[in-house]
C-alpha cells in the first residue's frame, strides 16, 4: 500500500497506541484537527480524548508535562507544531528531559518522544523552516532521530515510542508528501544504526532527514551524467551516531561529503568531519567536505531555494573532491 511520510507517521502512532495503552499523544491542534500536517489525523476519534488531546498553546508546558507523565508510567508522544516554536521548550528539554535519568542516578528514565516537523522547502513564513538538530545532538541524554524515507518514518517512530530514553524525533516536513509502497508493520534497523542507501565507490554522501532524498538524487544523476558511483549513507540517528558505518563507507570510497540543510558553522556535519578525521585519516584521498545551508537566519520563501542544498551543489562538491 502506498504511504506518504505523513501517512506512515500516522500509521506508526496508531499502531503504537493500539498496542500499548500507555501511549498518549498530545500537542497543539493534534486532536480534532489531526495536526497542521495531519500526522495525528483520526487518532482522537479512534483512541478517545484521554489518549489524544489538544493543549493550550504552551510549548514549554507540553514538554514539561510530558516529563511528569513519563514519570507516572505513560509514554507521551508530544508534538511541537513547528521547529521555530520548539524553542520555548528548550529549557525543559535541556534541563530536565535530557538530565532526569542521570540526575536521579538511573532511577527515573523518561520514555517520551518529542516530534518536531523541521527544515525548510515548503515556502513557509518566518520561523517555520528551522533546522535545530545540532542543539539537540549536542545535549547529552537525548536521542535524536530523523527519518529520510516513509518506511523509516514508520519504523523509527515506532522504535522511538518503545524506547526507554527520551527521543527528539525530527520530521523532515518537506518530505511529508514523499510516497513509498509499504507493507505494515515495516521493520528496519534499530535506533543507533545508519544504513547505506546506495552503494558506490567514487565518494560517500552522508545525509539525514530531508537531505537523504537530495543525496539520492545527486547519486542517480552522477551515475547517469558523469559515471561517478556515489555511496549514500543515511545517518537516521544523529545521537548516538553510528560512526562505524560512516567510517566504513568513507574508508572504502576515500572521499566523503556531509550534506545537511542546517547552517554550516558548528553544524552537525562538523562532528562527522572531525570524527572521520580521527578515525579514517589514513584512508582519505581528500578532505571531508560539507554541503550545507548558509550561515544566515533562514531566508524568506521566494529565495529559500538559494539556501537549500540541492543535487547540483552536491555534485559540484563531488567534482571538487575529485580534484585532489
Amino acid at each position: 500500500m502506498e504511504f506518504t511520510m505523513a501517512g506512515a507517521l500516522n500509521a506508526a502512532l496508531r499502531d503504537s497506541m493500539r498496542e500499548d495503552d500507555s501511549v498518549v499523544v498530545y500537542g497543539e491542534d493534534v486532536g480534532k484537527l489531526g495536526g497542521v500536517f495531519r500526522v495525528t489525523d483520526g487518532l482522537q476519534a479512534e483512541m478517545g480524548i484521554d489518549r489524544c488531546f489538544d493543549t493550550p498553546v504552551a510549548e514549554s508546558g507540553i514538554a514539561g508535562t510530558a516529563i511528569g507523565m513519563a514519570m507516572y508510567g505513560l509514554r507521551p508522544v508530544v508534538e511541537m507544531q513547528f521547529d521555530g516554536f520548539s524553542y520555548p521548550a528548550l529549557n525543559q528539554v535541556i534541563s530536565h528531559v535530557a538530565k532526569y535519568r542521570s540526575r536521579t542516578r538511573g532511577r527515573v528514565g523518561l520514555p517520551l518522544v518529542i516530534r518536531i516537523p523541521y527544515g525548510g522547502g515548503i515556502g513557509a513564513v518566518e520561523h517555520h523552516s528551522e533546522s535545530p538538530e545540532a542543539y539537540y545532538a549536542h545535549t547529552a541524554g537525548l536521542t535524536v532521530v530523523s527519518p529520510g524515507t516513509p518506511a523509516d518514518a514508520y519504523a523509527l517512530l515506532r522504535a522511538s515510542i518503545a524506547y526507554e530514553d527520551p527521543v527528539i524525533f525530527l520530521e523532515p516536513k518537506r518530505r511529508y508528501w514523499l510516497k513509498e509502497d509499504l507493507e505494515l508493520p515495516v521493520t528496519a534497523p534499530p535506533i543507533g544504526e545508519a544504513v547505506v542507501r546506495r552503494e558506490g565507490t567514487t565518494a560517500t554522501l552522508i545525509a539525514y532527514g530531508p537531505m537523504v532524498t537530495t543525496a539520492m538524487e545527486a547519486a542517480s544523476r552522477a551515475a547517469a551524467e558523469s559515471g561517478w558511483e556515489l555511496e549514500v549513507v543515511d545517518v537516521r540517528t544523529l545521537s548516538p551516531l553510528d560512526m562505524d558505518t560512516i567510517v566504513a563507507s568513507a574508508t572504502k570510497t576515500g572521499r566523503a561529503i556531509v550534506v545537511h540543510e542546517a547552517a554550516r558553522f558548528a553544524g552537525f556535519g562538523a562532528e562527522i568531519a572531525a570524527e572521520l578525521n580521527e578515525r579514517a585519516f589514513g584512508y582519505l584521498a581528500a578532505p571531508v567536505l560539507r554541503v550545507t545551508g548558509w550561515d544566515i537566519p533562514y531566508p524568506s520563501a521566494k529565495i529559500e531555494r538559494h539556501f537549500l542544498p540541492d543535487a547540483d551543489r552536491v555534485l559540484d562538491a563531488v567534482a571538487r573532491l575529485l580534484e585532489y
Binding site: 498518549v24 484521554d50 489518549r51 493543549t55 493550550p56 504552551a58 514549554s60 508546558g61 514538554a63 514539561g64 508535562t65 510530558a66 516529563i67 511528569g68 507523565m69 513519563a70 514519570m71 507516572y72 508510567g73 505513560l74 507521551p76 520555548p88 529549557n91 525543559q92 534541563s95 530536565h96 538530565k99 535519568r101 542521570s102 540526575r103 536521579t104 542516578r105 538511573g106 532511577r107 527515573v108 528514565g109 547529552a140 541524554g141 536521542t143 526507554e164 530514553d165 543507533g192 548516538p240 551516531l241 562505524d244
Partner: protein
C-alpha cells in the same frame, strides 16, 4: 461577552473593563480538623525541620555542604503543606523546600546530596514519591501537572503538590503550569511560598499585584491566600485544596505569605538589600515558637514531649554530621552509567579513557 450584531453606532461603542485588580475576599474562618496527635506531629516535624536547617547551615560553614538554601522561618508553610498529603500523593519541591521534603519522609542525608555534591539527586523519587529538588525555577510545576494528568488518565485518585516561590511565579513555566492544570482539571495543588524575596529582589519588584493568589483567577481556578507562618491555616487551606483535587474538581493555587529569615543561600549577604528591623518583625512571628506557645497553652504538648522532640532533633543532627562530613565522592566512572538506559558506544569509550586516567593515577600514588 455578549457579542452585538456588529457596528451599532458610528460615534458610540461599548466595552467591558476589568476591575483594576482581581478581588481578594475578606478572611473567612474554616474548621480545621486536626487531632491532638496530629498537632503534636506537626510540631515535631517543624521542630525537627528547624534543627535540620540549622545543622545544614553549620555544615555549610564547615565545608561539608557546598551551599545551602535555608528554610528558616518557612517551616509552617512547608510542613503544613506536605502534612495535607496522603502517602500515595506526589511532591515536586524546589531547592528551598528541604524541610518540607524532609517532613515528607525523605532521608536527610539522601536529601542533602544536592548540596553536599555527592550526586544531583541522592534519593529515589519513586521510593518517596518526591521529585528531585529542582533549581531551574518553576520548571517542576509542569512536571507535577503532567504527573497529575497521567494519574487522572489512569483513574488513580492521587494528588501532586508543587512548591514555588514569589520570584519563580514570574517565570513563564509557572503560568503555563497553572493554565494547563486548570484547563485539564489536573489534580494539582500549587503552593507559592511568598517569602518576600527572590535572592535580593523584593516582592514589589516581581509584580504589581498585591497577591500572587490573584493569578488563580486569570486561569480560572480557585486561589487562596493564607498566613504562611500559621501552620494550622496552611494545613487547612492546603488540605481543602488537596481534597478538591482528589474529588476531581481540579487545581488550586495557595499563596502562603511568609518570610525568609536567613539569606537566600549561605553564599548570600542580606545586609546589602534589607534591614535588620524588617527581619526582626518577622522573627517576632516565628512559626515554630508561636505554634509551640499555643500548643503549650492548650495543653497539647508538655515539657516532656518537647524534650523528646529536642533529643530526636539532636539525633538527626548527629546523623547529618556523621554522614555528610567526609562523605565518599563515589566512583567517578559512574557518571557515564546513567546518561542513557544503556551507555552508548561513545560513552563506553570515554569511560575507558577516564578509567585509564584513574588507573594511572592509582599506580603513581
Amino acid at each position: 461577552m455578549n457579542v452585538s450584531a456588529g457596528v451599532a453606532s458610528l460615534t458610540k461603542a461599548a466595552w467591558q473593563d476589568v476591575a483594576a485588580e482581581g478581588s481578594l475576599g475578606a478572611p473567612a474562618t474554616h474548621d480545621v480538623d486536626l487531632s491532638h496527635d496530629q498537632l503534636r506531629s506537626l510540631y515535631r516535624l517543624m521542630a525537627l525541620s528547624r534543627r535540620v536547617d540549622r545543622q545544614a547551615i553549620n555544615l555549610t560553614r564547615q565545608g561539608a555542604l557546598g551551599v545551602f538554601a535555608s528554610s528558616h522561618g518557612q517551616e509552617a508553610a512547608q510542613v503544613g503543606s506536605v502534612f495535607a498529603l496522603e502517602p500515595d500523593d506526589w511532591l515536586f519541591p524546589t531547592y528551598r523546600e528541604t524541610v518540607g521534603t524532609f517532613a515528607r519522609g525523605v532521608d536527610v542525608v539522601e536529601l542533602l546530596a544536592l548540596f553536599s555534591g555527592s550526586w544531583h539527586c541522592g534519593f529515589d523519587p519513586y521510593q518517596y514519591r518526591v521529585a528531585p529538588l529542582t533549581t531551574p525555577l518553576a520548571t517542576q510545576a509542569l512536571h507535577a501537572v503532567g504527573l497529575a494528568m497521567a494519574a487522572r488518565i489512569k483513574h488513580d485518585p492521587i494528588v501532586a503538590l508543587t512548591f514555588f516561590g514569589d520570584g519563580a511565579a514570574s517565570e513563564g513555566d509557572a503560568h503555563e503550569a497553572m493554565n494547563i492544570a486548570a484547563v485539564s482539571g489536573a489534580p494539582v495543588v500549587f503552593v507559592v511560598q511568598n517569602n518576600g524575596y527572590a535572592i535580593s529582589v523584593p516582592y514589589r519588584l516581581q509584580t504589581k499585584a498585591s497577591s500572587i493568589a490573584l493569578r488563580a483567577a486569570g486561569v480560572g481556578m480557585p486561589g487562596i491566600r493564607v498566613d504562611g507562618n500559621d501552620v494550622i491555616a496552611v494545613y487547612g487551606a492546603v488540605r481543602a485544596a488537596v481534597d478538591r483535587a482528589r474529588r476531581g474538581d481540579g487545581p488550586t493555587l495557595v499563596e502562603a505569605v511568609t518570610y525568609r529569615l536567613e539569606a537566600h543561600t549561605t553564599a548570600d549577604d542580606t545586609t546589602r538589600y534589607r534591614s535588620d528591623d524588617e527581619a526582626a518583625s518577622w522573627r517576632a512571628r516565628d512559626p515554630v515558637d508561636t505554634f509551640l506557645r499555643v500548643l503549650r497553652e492548650r495543653g497539647v504538648v508538655d515539657d516532656a514531649y518537647v524534650a523528646e522532640v529536642e533529643a530526636e532533633g539532636e539525633a538527626v543532627a548527629a546523623r547529618m554530621r556523621d554522614f555528610l562530613f567526609d562523605a565518599p565522592a563515589g566512583d567517578p566512572r559512574e557518571m557515564f552509567d546513567h546518561v542513557y538506559a544503556t551507555p552508548t558506544p561513545q560513552l563506553q569509550a570515554q569511560r575507558g579513557i577516564l578509567n585509564q586516567e584513574l588507573s594511572a593515577a592509582e599506580e603513581s600514588a
